[in-house]
Amino acid sequence: MSKFVVIGERIHCISPAIREAMAKRDPAPILKRAKQQLQAGATYLDVNIGPAESDGEELMKWAVTTIQQAFDNVPLCLDTVNRKAIEAGISVYNRSKGKPIVNSADAGERIENIDLAAANDAITIALCQKHGIPADNDERMAYCQEMLERGMMLGMEPTDLWFDPLFLVIKGMQDKQLDCLEAIKMFTDMGLNTTGGLSNVSNGMPKDIRPIMDSAMVAMAMANGLSSAIANPCDLRLMETIKSCDVIRNNVLYADSYLSI
């Protein structure tokens, strides 16, 4: 019954402006996107620094302190395959507004990111995959169990593993969408938290279609219990849908101005 957590996805090194800002340690473009996303209703901000093989640790530290200092210790999701960079980021992270999120662990090569999260009292996104896309929900659930057990053995709260069912692109994998929704339902029934890269579903669709498809998907996923998503909070239609679904799910008390808060 807690409010849906939007993890804003717009600080991502795939964007040329952000990549350049990260390379030059120029805070302005990063803080601008952070501000836009927070004003639009993001709870967490994802900070994707890419693989950052050479200077990942220093870059993540810089990004974490720069963003947290500018925005009252906003909670962050540290997104890179560079494990040392995530650890470095956590070492300077202020958790007064929420634990850091490790983005991400999976049941394959990245399973040790669960150990990293456990050692640092962090949340981790737990991608239900090992080698490529899971074939069905039996496979998803097996990975879920594997990661859940590992986390719990290391003393984590089950609710600190946020399971990602792996949202799949509709153009090409249309027949797999209901599986994904069913997986969310199964995780939710186990009392677990869920998240995922929502905009995957509309990948490759025309720009004007994407907010519609993302909104429909988030509504159906929230009906099944989805508790968070990595998404673009600046997508007004999507945010209006999420806020409305939060009301319908009784996650947030309704008031006439609910869309503007």
Binding site: K3, V252, L253, A255, S257, S260
Partner: protein, 313 residues
């Protein structure tokens, strides 16, 4: 297996709000646990009790009241006695006489009364209007100006007059604003949103969620307050973390049990005792549901509720 007590902890708290100034200031709210759950954690400031007096004096009041206020002929003189009532934390002046459908006392006259009352007491002051939206808006603006700096709480801004009351009381004169919603949880939140969007700081707003005398639909009051506290603490809803202040006297003393004459219902016993019981039962229920302050009028009710608060805090 031994019993393991698990305290219910929240990462949220009710806002603390200070009324009045200096040594006699009173702070309400601040709890980070459910109402009176001191066994779970910090209940913040123990609930506070306001003593209500009316600008209409003691018209129609019972013996216990007239005896207590004996010798006081003006609201200011009554206020001086009210603040000495054992258990009183603040004084509440109710300007009933301003009602255009009643005595229709002028705004100027009310301002003078309010100033005299404020001058006669050292405890914090709460001003209650006459429940006529337009008149209250006018009254509150002028009184807020006259009592600037005294940190007075005004009851209340309603949906119909929140803009003028919020702008005058909350913004122009930096006093405290009560937001009144009559047992309507969605409106309670909406009013807080509207007042904050107007520019009134969340920490300067208290909620009057409405009440009902015990037995007169109190279950709606209880479920409303429960839901407000659940959202404020469990969902960290900043638009419901304002402390709750509940005027109890006006509700409790206006129901049949408190009003009918002993001659008509001899088996019910003395009228005054019944009124006091209604007032105590309602106030105790409000505090258990989440009121951070209650407003009472009878000395026996104030003493009883004060003892209850002292025993539970």
């Amino acid at each position: 297996m031994p019993f393991k007590r698990t305290p219910q902890k929240f990462n949220a708290a009710i806002n603390a709000m200070t009324l009045g100034t200096g040594d006699n200031a009173v702070t309400i709210g601040g709890a980070s646990v459910l109402p009176l759950y001191s066994f779970d954690g910090d209940i913040g400031n123990a609930p506070k009790i306001g003593v209500e007096i009316s600008d209409l004096g003691l018209e129609g009041e019972c013996v216990g009241m007239t005896e207590f206020y004996a010798g006081a002929s003006t609201p200011a003189e009554m206020a001086a006695k009210a603040e000495k009532m054992p258990g009183a934390d603040f004084v509440c002046l109710r300007l009933e006489g301003a009602d255009p459908n009643g005595h229709n006392r002028s705004v100027e006259e009310c301002v003078e009364i309010a100033k005299a009352v404020a001058g006669a007491i050292s405890l914090p002051l709460v001003i209650e209007g006459c429940k006529n939206n337009e008149k209250d808006a006018e009254l509150f603006e002028k009184i807020a100006a006259a009592l600037e700096g005294k940190n007075v709480l005004f009851l209340s801004a309603k949906e119909e007059n929140h803009k003028s009351v919020g702008a005058a009381v909350g913004l122009a004169y930096a006093q405290k604003v009560g937001a009144e919603s009559s047992v309507d949880i969605n409106l309670a939140k909406q009013l807080n949103v509207l007042l904050t969007q107007l520019g009134v700081k969340a920490e300067n707003i208290a909620m009057n969620l409405g009440s009902a005398a015990a037995g007169y639909g109190f279950e709606y009051v209880a479920s409303t307050m429960d839901r407000v506290k659940a959202a404020a603490l469990g969902q960290n809803d900043a638009m419901l973390q304002m402390p709750v202040i509940t005027p109890v006297a006006s509700e409790a003393w206006s129901v049949k049990e408190a009003m009918v004459d002993e001659a008509d219902f001899p088996e019910w016993g003395p009228q005054e005792d019944r009124g006091v019981r209604m007032e105590i039962a309602t106030a105790a229920a409000c505090l258990a549901c989440g009121s951070d302050a209650v407003i009472l009028k009878h000395p026996r009710s104030v003493a009883t509720i004060s003892a209850m608060v002292a025993a539970l805090k």
